[in-house]
Amino acid sequence: MSLSPVEGLALAEIESDPDAGTPAAKGVVGRSPGQLAWLRLRRDRTAVVSGVLLVFFMVLGLAAPLIEMAYGIGPREQFQNLLDGFGMPLGYAGGVTGDHWFGLEPNLGRDIFIRLIYGLRTSLFIAFAAALITATIGVVLGALAGYLGGWLDAVINWITDLTLAMPFLIIALALTPTVTLRFYGERGQVSSAFGVGVLIAVFAVFGWTSTARLVRGQVIALREREFVEAARASGVGLGHMLFRQLLPNIWAPILVSFSLAVPQFITSEAALSFIGVGLSDETPSFGRMIYDSLDFLQTDPAYVFFPGIMIFALVFAFNLFGDALRDALDPKSSR
């Protein structure tokens, strides 16, 4: 049924819960659906493995400066004396040594390991921030459109269509320098935080549509449910209705789409680097590294391997976790 061998078990357990009909038999506090999901998640070996991996990645990213101290090499330090006349690292596998665990970048001779650690930090930050913002925009717009319907729904739908019709990469390519110019003029120093901010903003502008559509659909389905009418009959306001009544019922799909959006933004950052919108060389990021490394596929495959395997592992872990999360939150769906 699903990827998870544990999940069938968990489901069976829920169905055969002897307390279901007679709550009095057991303790006073019931298990919320969220708690049940958490339980299922904890029993899913894949979820635990991928979750631990993700936490590990996040800790690595957060601890980057500490790792730099321990490792003794900074992300901008160059070791050109370890390069040959063509700027290719000397030694085996792209210059892997005890000092340089993942070898050196060709040309500039910077240490790949420490740059990857810092890149992890940048990429995770961008992806999480973008996913949070897009989820927020998507939830608010989707819930409003779905619940209120009518002309508001039509307008939000149209904006969604419009956003989807705009070629994202092209617009990002055109807007990024424009925005930078507006903020910094032609001479100011552009901080890396700003570059990161622009990227997040670009994602925010284009990334909310799927969440909005998802939430809208879910809200429309819920709108006709009687508990919503019961709330209305009690005279609740719009905010209470959307965020207290409806949202708790759709946070599962939102959470799943969030967990699957994060890896998407990680790879999108790389895609933007590909057309030259990404971050500048000053800020180490996965996107920039993989983009720069691809040129060396034939001459220094190790340079491609390390960022490549790292970004794959990160995205793969997210996807696994997202899948497991979906299974845990919605045992009936077998996605």
């Binding site: 009095a24 006073v28 019931g30 709330a231 009959a233 005279g235 609740v236 019922n249």
Partner: protein, 333 residues
Amino acid sequence: MTDEPLLRVRGLTKHFPVRQGLRATGLVRAVDGLDFDVRPGETLGLVGESGCGKTTTGRMLVRLLEPTSGSIEFDGRDITHAGRRELRPLRQELQIIFQDPYASLNPRHTVGRIVAMPLQVNGIKPPGGIKARVQELLELVGLNPEHYNRYPHEFSGGQRQRIGIARALALRPKLIVADEPVSALDVSIQAQVVNLLRNLQRELGLAFVFIAHDLAVIRHFSQRVAVMYLGRIVEIGDRADIYERPQHPYTRALLSAIPDVTQLGPAGRIRLTGDVPTPLDPPSGCRFRTRCWKAQDICAAEEPALVPRDGGRQSTACHFPEVAAPIFEEVPS
């Protein structure tokens, strides 16, 4: 019972536009001009086949749906088109119980939160705190007050419906619209819930608009009964009159369809032929004429008015009302 009705409904109408493209091409006449009153502490049973507009009527009474025309007066105030703010104080006196106990409780909220919601939303702080009040309500509907922190999925259908009732009672309403409150429950549990409602009515002096398609349940619970067909009331009167001396052919047909152990075989049963006509294009004149065995030309030409008969206790909308003997004896309930 005072003479002043608690709820006074006149000409209540709900039309749903049918859209094709941007233009409305037709109207579903779901409810088409209802008149009735409900006095304090009284139960009005609203009965009819599915699709006759019962539920729409119930939703309009608590203003979940906006009436197309007509008026609803509650406790002397016109609430037909009141906004959310104006309705606020009324919400406390006018509540609804839903049909589906599985859909009517927010699955992500605890029982306590569900029952407390009307209190919190309306900013009511009962003496002793919300929790005490909620637990009191849970006890009132026969639930263990310690289930406060449990989730709906941990309860059975009957228990859930009790939660729904507790929620409706939270604001101490004067009138509760009960929209098929037991039809989704097992028969054994139906009786428990109906009895609960009856007890509550007696204890709290509640008035009910009790919507059901099950004539037996209505008979058990209502003082007065209104029979609906295709968006209109065809007959309204006291329970005894309706059940013992139905004057409208449709009421007769409905009553004869109740399986009756005393009458074996199809002898006295009136079999209605044909389907219920579409409310998109109801028949001219009397709406029941297409399925009525007594229909004459006048039925197509002229719509019968709801005329009081038998000294005003019972009103019937029919050109040829029955005056025959009761179809069966009153059975004390």
